[in-house]
Symmetry: C2
Subunit: 314 residues, 2 copies
């Protein structure tokens, strides 16, 4: 058997060591990655995807480790993908503070993987989704994405998830204020964590007011759940709410729409990579390099260079 | 004269009303946008680009309005591009809190434009850079990008800028802590704003320690400037430091490298758009739509669909 066949078999047998290796292939864009994803495509079940996002310090990891325990009581196997903001220089993950998640990793029903986002070309969601697929092949019944976000991160996680939980904390200052509007658009459920702090109720009322402005007749209005992850308060309610949202989107046909949109994005990304790889032959890269000086001097128009690039026989 | 000729003439005559219109064409991806950028390409001077980023609530706008006044004393005309985190649904900018910047906008030597980031395909840096080019054509001597970031935003701004200033505030909690490592990679200059608050000196020492770990012999070590933007403390020092960095990268050849990298990215983005527009003909979009069900059922492999898409005669 080829390597790919072996890895594929290992995944289907729920071998975690092989899962870890398969994920690395995908993360590193190894030349075997495509072949592997291809090999397991038919055996990839449509596993539910839960996204958890919010600002740094909101207590996402603690909350998640509590929530995951409730899913474990239902005997669900859970794959957790922690997506960290990236460094464009080292390519490495920059948040290392995953201590609280570690207690979960001794549970054989849980598989945790930390990933860095790379580059800006939607790299997060593409690779993270491929990793989620591998986890699904390897027997996970639920995939959880955890990511930090202001800006791009939380959009990617919302796109990749069936249910998106946005975790906030009652805090003064502009920080949360500034994020709220953006998060408003992507949240299916709001959590106000550390809700024993001052301002939790005020924040809830503010959120409710903002949500009412958007409420449509037959639309899901994001519930707001107050939690104290440190002692477990509100986690049961959050657990129930996540399941309610799951039922809602399944019945309303939204789950199917989300899966369709993600499949279309997948195909588009594959096509895009194919076309660009094919186009940027060594000869064309060379031509661009040779013409760079003229571009910077503004004596050569980009549109004319692009014509020349296209006309070049590879 | 065509519209494009008229707009191009207006830009070269430093007509702000026409600049605003030109920017809208580029922002809205109007069909005239490419023609316009093409028309003014030869007349686009290589204007210096300063990026200012940091978490929400760090006081970036106040700091920037102070800093910009010092550049104005040198009679420099300044284009400011405020990039706001996006909503994928409304496409609109979500931070509206630009009151402090407004006092600047009555100065005829300053042109401010607020932009939303769109989508995830590096949309920010591409469009923001085209907008910066238009501002340069219209006589601006310095372009300033201001953006909020944890995650993607600050990477884009660093890529688009010649000098990147990262603004932090002394604050307890994980928030800043979590961001620091990522920001470390992109900062040419650190600002600790609101430095009359507790913890400013401690933060400075921590940053210095992290920076020392990376220091190379002949490399620029990011200076740390303490400021209180509200009363102007430290702004002169920041102003000097920005100019020192500008001199450094000019002399070390780094400025040229940055401009080259940006030009290459520009050409790659144009090529990419071209190839994708050409590929995704109505017929191919139709084929993808028709095969979606089979993809979701996992009975059709993506790789096979892509073959069929390629073989389709448009």
């Amino acid at each position: 058997m080829t390597d790919i066949k072996l890895i594929s078999e290992g995944l289907k047998n729920n071998n975690y060591r092989i899962l870890a290796r398969a994920i690395s292939l995908v993360e590193n864009e190894d030349e075997q990655a495509d072949g592997l994803l291809n090999e397991v495509f038919r055996d990839t079940p449509p596993v539910y995807r839960l996204g958890v996002t919010g600002p740094p310090g909101a207590g996402k990891s603690t909350l998640l480790s509590r929530l995951v325990r409730l899913f474990r009581e239902q005997q669900k196997k859970i794959g957790i993908i922690v997506v960290d903001p990236t460094s464009p220089f080292t390519g490495g993950a920059v948040l290392g503070d995953r201590i609280r998640m570690n207690e979960l990793s001794s549970d054989p029903g849980i598989f945790i993987r930390s990933m860095a986002t790379r580059g800006s070309l939607g790299g997060l969601s593409r690779t993270a989704q491929d990793v989620a697929d591998l986890m699904a092949v390897a027997g996970m019944d639920l995939i959880v994405f955890e990511t930090v976000g202001v800006g791009q991160g939380e959009l990617d996680v919302a796109r990749a998830s069936d249910t998106t939980v946005v975790v906030l904390v009652p805090e003064s200052g502009d920080s949360i204020q500034a994020m709220k509007a953006g998060l408003m658009e992507i949240a299916d459920i709001f959590v106000i964590n550390k809700s024993d702090r001052d301002g939790a109720e005020k924040m809830k009322i503010e959120l409710e007011m903002m949500l009412q402005l958007r409420a449509g007749e037959d639309k899901w209005i994001p519930p707001i759940v107050k939690t104290i992850a440190n002692n477990g308060d509100g986690i049961n309610e959050l657990f129930d709410t996540v399941q309610q949202h799951g039922k809602y989107i399944r019945n309303a046909g939204i789950l199917k729409d989300k899966r369709s949109a993600r499949m279309i994005e997948k195909i588009q990304a594959l096509v895009s990579r194919d076309l660009l790889n094919q186009f940027w032959s060594p000869g064309r890269q060379e031509l661009l390099k040779n013409k760079l000086e003229e571009l910077l001097d503004r004596t050569l128009l980009p549109v004319n260079l692009i014509k020349d690039l296209k006309n070049l026989e590879k």
